[in-house]
């Protein structure tokens, strides 16, 4: 009753803060318009250009399909290893980021480190690792590994912070140590979520792996970069179709797998 009453008669302070929020949102959009050089009219005036451009993609040229598939497989392999290494690293790091497991003086620095792993895009890491380990898929694996570790450690620790503390106390009462408390009280509670997050990141990493190739880190991205630069748009069309199909199949499969764990 009280709630309904508040809805029909919002008090003045609520109304004021609401309109301030919308005013702020409008101001943000207006401010960003300039910087982003928004020119919607260009879409209309240059419509002819786009038409000819799109026409170049059709019919897609699948002449080199064996080569494309081979490179697509390399992309998947990059994603598999990038994700696998990240999962392994994110388990201890995620536990160390959890306020209910680690003391604050450990938890805070590890969290900041994970923030920095996340803040920097895979592409940037890929460019750096190309310099370190040379051109090729391994640079892509390392780039995905670092960025994904940052993301998974955060997701893992959020799951750990949301656990029911009572079973952990039950394990502690038997005289178990901290590692045993984690193995028997914490991990069983978070495992379904952890698996689900890992599969989801694998999906995302298949998408990312197609892009990190563009800076020379191996896989289909390298092919894509070369044929776009060479204006081979029919071939580009073929590669894009292969990428879309592969990514969709991976999405569907891993979505199915994730449902198994809930």
């Amino acid at each position: 009753m009280a709630g309904a009453l508040q809805h029909t008669l919002p008090n003045h302070r609520q109304a004021l803060s609401k309109s301030l929020f919308y005013a702020g949102l409008l101001a943000l959009l207006a401010w960003s318009w300039e910087g982003a050089e928004m020119r919607p009219m260009a879409l209309v005036s240059d419509a002819g250009n786009m038409g000819t451009f799109l026409k170049d993609f059709f019919p897609p040229n699948f002449h080199d399909w064996r080569y494309y598939l081979k490179e697509m497989a390399v992309t998947l392999q990059i994603a598999v290893w990038g994700t696998a290494l990240a999962v392994v690293a994110a388990i201890p790091l995620g536990l160390l980021c959890s306020a209910n497991i680690a003391p604050w003086w450990l938890c805070q620095p590890v969290r900041r480190l994970m923030d920095s792993f996340r803040a920097i895009n895979e592409m940037v890491f890929a460019m750096l690792f190309v310099v370190v380990v040379g051109l090729g898929p391994f640079a892509g694996v390392l780039a995905l590994f670092v960025h994904t570790t940052g993301i998974l450690a955060k997701l893992f620790s959020e799951a750990v912070e949301a656990i029911d503390p009572r079973p952990v106390e039950g394990i502690r009462a038997t005289g178990a140590g901290i590692l045993e408390e984690i193995a028997y009280g914490v991990i069983p509670q978070v495992l379904p979520l952890w698996i689900s997050y890992s599969l989801y990141r694998f999906e995302s990493n298949v998408r990312s792996a197609t892009v990190v190739g563009m800076v020379g880190a191996g896989g289909i991205g390298v092919v894509l970069w070369e044929i776009i630069r060479g204006f081979y748009f029919a071939e580009t069309g073929a590669v894009m179709i292969i990428v879309v199909i592969t990514v969709s199949v991976i999405d569907i499969l891993s979505g199915r797998l994730r449902k198994l764990f809930f």
């Binding site: 106390e169 009462a173 028997y184």
Partner: protein, 279 residues
């Protein structure tokens, strides 16, 4: 002494929960700890195995001759002591997604090398002990099921089996029957009494149903507002003396002390409401 508490106080953000409590419990005793919600009985029980630490100015807890805590600091070897003390919780505190068997085997964790516990390599002897414990509490058939699929009474019996596997010399039970129906409550209390008689295990059980305390425990410790107001033979507790201790408002003793679970839970809720209103 199985349990020795001296001068223990506990303050939760300025509000005293225990006030200079001292008590001794001899090996093999079965003791009930009674009191209304908020009287400090759960808090006291949790101090016995160091799940809670007392105020830093004074107070000491010893269990099985080993120090658990002193002046608010846990002993460095508290885990060694805990491995000999079983704890049973009101909400069972089993790990829902693990099998009943694994939950029961967790009783061994305090006394096995870490590589064995982390890899889940329990010895044949430990597995035999788990099987025997499950049979003893009457849930051998459910051992492969997930703990979450069991009824409340069965989960509590699994928790008791965990203390058996642990070969606990002292069992602390914090309101073990408060979330159970009367029939399951009776079975749990009978199982605890049997373990006390057959194995000589020291058992301290907190209850808010006086009739269960009188029926199963020779000795009763009564708490009120964080202080021990009675410590002695349960047989000496009469409706009149309980009334004197707690006043008529705490427990309805008009019908000759024949308390039912319903009346008690109702009064518990009522008191809680009264407390909320006072805030």
């Amino acid at each position: 002494m199985a349990i020795k508490v001296a001068d223990l106080s506990k303050t939760f953000s300025g509000r005293p929960a225990l006030k200079r409590v001292s008590l001794d419990i001899a090996p093999g005793e079965m003791v009930a700890m009674i009191g209304a919600s908020g009287s400090g009985k759960s808090t006291l029980l949790r101090h016995f195995c160091g799940l809670e630490t007392g105020d830093t100015d004074a107070g000491e807890v010893e269990v099985l001759g080993r120090r658990v805590q002193r002046r608010g600091r846990l002993a460095a070897d508290v885990r060694r002591t805990r491995s000999r003390v079983g704890f049973i919780f009101q909400q069972f505190n089993l790990v829902a997604r693990l099998s009943v068997e694994t939950n029961v085997l967790a009783g061994c964790l305090g006394r096995m090398p870490i590589w064995r516990s982390l890899s889940g390599c329990f010895t044949a002897e430990q597995r035999d002990r788990a099987r025997a414990a499950l049979a003893r509490v009457g849930i051998a058939e459910q051992s492969r099921q997930r703990a979450s699929t069991l009824s409340g009474g069965q989960q509590q019996r699994a928790a008791i089996a965990r203390t058996l596997v642990q070969q606990a010399e002292v069992v602390l039970a914090d309101e073990p029957i408060a979330s159970l129906d009367p029939e399951s409550s009776r079975r749990i209390m009978e199982t605890l009494a049997r373990i006390n008689q057959e194995d000589g295990t020291t058992i301290v059980v907190s209850l808010h149903q006086v009739d269960f305390a009188l029926k199963y425990c020779p000795r009763t410790i009564a708490l009120k507002d964080g202080e021990i107001v009675y410590d002695g033979a349960s047989s000496a507790l009469t409706p009149a003396s309980l009334k004197a201790l707690y006043g008529a408002e705490a427990w309805d003793l008009d019908d000759g002390g024949d308390l039912t679970l319903g009346v008690n839970s109702f009064l518990g809720g009522h008191r809680l409401q009264a407390a909320t209103a006072a805030i």
